[in-house]
Assembly symmetry: C2
Homo-oligomer: 349 residues x 2
């Protein structure tokens, strides 16, 4: 499942060498409306590619869009010897990766993430898929891209919200890795982004992830650590979606990281100093996700539906400290409610 | 991609030991209307399983049925620690295998083929998938079943047509393997089926296939030999489907084997004696697929759309002799038309 992750701001040349080396009979580029307009012009090597364009947004990451992409691939005359380039955020790479992995039982694809979230979340691990029946990534496959080209050249047009959404995933990796990484992330200057430093930090972040994924490609053990912040985060995200007020994935992860850090503090003595640093950072940069105690049952039910759940148990990764994750903690409802109480208190919501 | 293929007429005990050994939190059995009625009662170990029933027939092997199966899996509360048992013909195992391989990015599944075609065609190789846009198995994945249980206990209720449809795939394996295997197959007594001999012949047939698949799991080389009879066969099958007069898959394969044996005779000196034995056997048991020269262009176009085609070239496996396949023969239209002329002449159609 190891993917070839290439770190380069010379994306066009890097992609071109993959295309030329592959002897493909057709090149497709899968984009959304935004990346067609903003990212595709930066890649002249794709000027003759078949363009498959979809509507942006996680709400379009569904079976209907997938069917349309499959149809367009067929219309392009794609065969097993064709290449799909997924140029976009995580939605484009997840859906496009799954489309490619299942078209004629699998063709080559290259992911070119255009968002920080896409780069960090979807570059390593080979996860592809779509939402289904209101559940995120319910349908999908583990399928490695032929290559992933990680760069910062597309980030200049990202909104602050999009940027911070991706940054939350880097924060997660830092918390899994070390106190030093965590501190570095908390001190990054969002007002004057140093893109060279950022590419280097992204590489470090992805190496942390890659190291974990390689130890456990099928998510039976330590890879579950990467779920930090996501069980609660996905529940918040699903609730927001159900309420018709979707929130950016990384924002949900940031709030999830706080809630799971609270649980880590209660159950595993995660240091209060680090918890408060995290809360401070998240409040400043992500604001708050507003819930009341009336929402607890809904949130807990959504947590029970997590893909990684067994027997509807709620299974979390907790931290004893930054760099010391403990996987496979079965959490009872009372502790979750306590953590949600504390979360609301910390965020004054 | 190696699958665990178990040959046993004690299917219930074999399946039960898999279920008990797996510590699953939910067992689903995926059936069609026919296998629910005729096959499921033979397996008491599934009496408490969630039943997911679909309508039979290759025309239902589509995205709508797949979506419904995914939904029902979710409704059953299936998690990554659940098991799907696909009990049926190739349509049930192909679609159910793909549903399981993509539900939450993949859960365990066991295939229990109930037809000879399903046992021979879908037991080895890990191919799963659905039809899409009028093309067979256009969408799918290579995904190994946890186990495949091959038996003859479900064959007593097969129609003669269903039985012969599966037998054509065994004939293909025999032709790829040896003159001796080919002769054994031609001499089998369809009027008084010896099921013990049949299970043994099935095992030999699947070992031939398994040996080829293991040499080339990703279908880059020798595995293409298994396509013998299928490029023409699929074109016949697609044409029949387009005409609203579907033919059984194995019948199309039998006619495809004849046409490709004619091409092998023309281009690779496949012995005329064996060609005539094959024609005699196929005419006697499968009748003829009626085409006229007005259909040649349509058939050739369908052959160009074959999943394994590159650049719309028609690429066939041919035989120098039984047991001596030659892969990667690019065939020109004139030779195909000549072969179709000879096919029509041999079959008087």
């Amino acid at each position: 499942m190891k993917q070839n992750v290439l770190y380069s701001n010379n994306v066009d040349a890097t992609l071109n060498s993959i295309i030329e080396g592959g002897n493909y009979n057709a090149i497709m580029v899968h984009v959304d409306e935004n990346t067609r307009q903003l990212a595709l012009p930066l890649l002249p090597c794709l000027s003759n590619a078949h363009i498959i364009e979809i509507a942006p947004g996680d709400n379009n990451k569904n079976i209907d869009t997938l069917s349309r992409v499959w149809s367009e691939m067929a219309q392009c005359g794609a065969t097993r010897h064709s290449l799909m380039v997924n140029l976009g955020g995580g939605m484009v790479t997840d859906l496009g990766g799954f489309a490619a992995a299942t078209f004629k039982r699998g063709i080559d694809f290259v992911n070119v993430p255009t968002t920080l979230l896409g780069a960090i979340d979807a570059s390593v691990g080979g996860k592809t898929g779509i939402n289904f029946n209101g559940l995120k990534n319910e349908i999908g496959a583990f399928a490695p891209a032929k290559a992933v080209i990680v760069s910062t050249i597309f980030f200049h047009t990202l909104s602050e919200q999009e940027f911070k959404s991706g940054y939350a995933e880097m924060l997660k990796h830092a918390m899994l890795h070390s106190h030093e990484s965590f501190e570095q992330l908390l001190n990054f200057d969002f007002k004057a982004i140093d893109y060279d430093l950022l590419l280097q930090m992204m590489q470090e972040s992805l190496l942390i992830k890659q190291h974990i994924v390689e130890q456990d490609p099928n998510e039976q053990g330590i890879r579950k650590a990467l779920n930090l912040g996501h069980t609660v985060g996905h529940a918040f995200e699903s609730k927001a979606l159900a309420d018709g007020k979707p929130v950016p994935h990384g924002f949900a992860v940031a709030w999830g990281l706080v809630t799971e850090a609270v649980l880590s503090h209660i159950l595993k003595q995660f240091p209060s100093k680090d918890l408060y640093s995290l809360v401070h950072f998240v409040k400043d940069n992500y604001g708050a996700f507003h819930i009341t105690c009336d929402h607890y049952d809904q949130i807990i039910d959504l947590m029970r539906h997590d893909k990684k759940s067994r027997d509807r148990e709620i299974n979390l990764t907790l931290l004893e400290d930054c760099g010391s994750p403990i996987i496979n903690n079965t959490i009872n409802e009372d502790d979750i409610k306590t953590a949600l109480d504390i979360y609301r208190d910390l965020f004054k919501c």
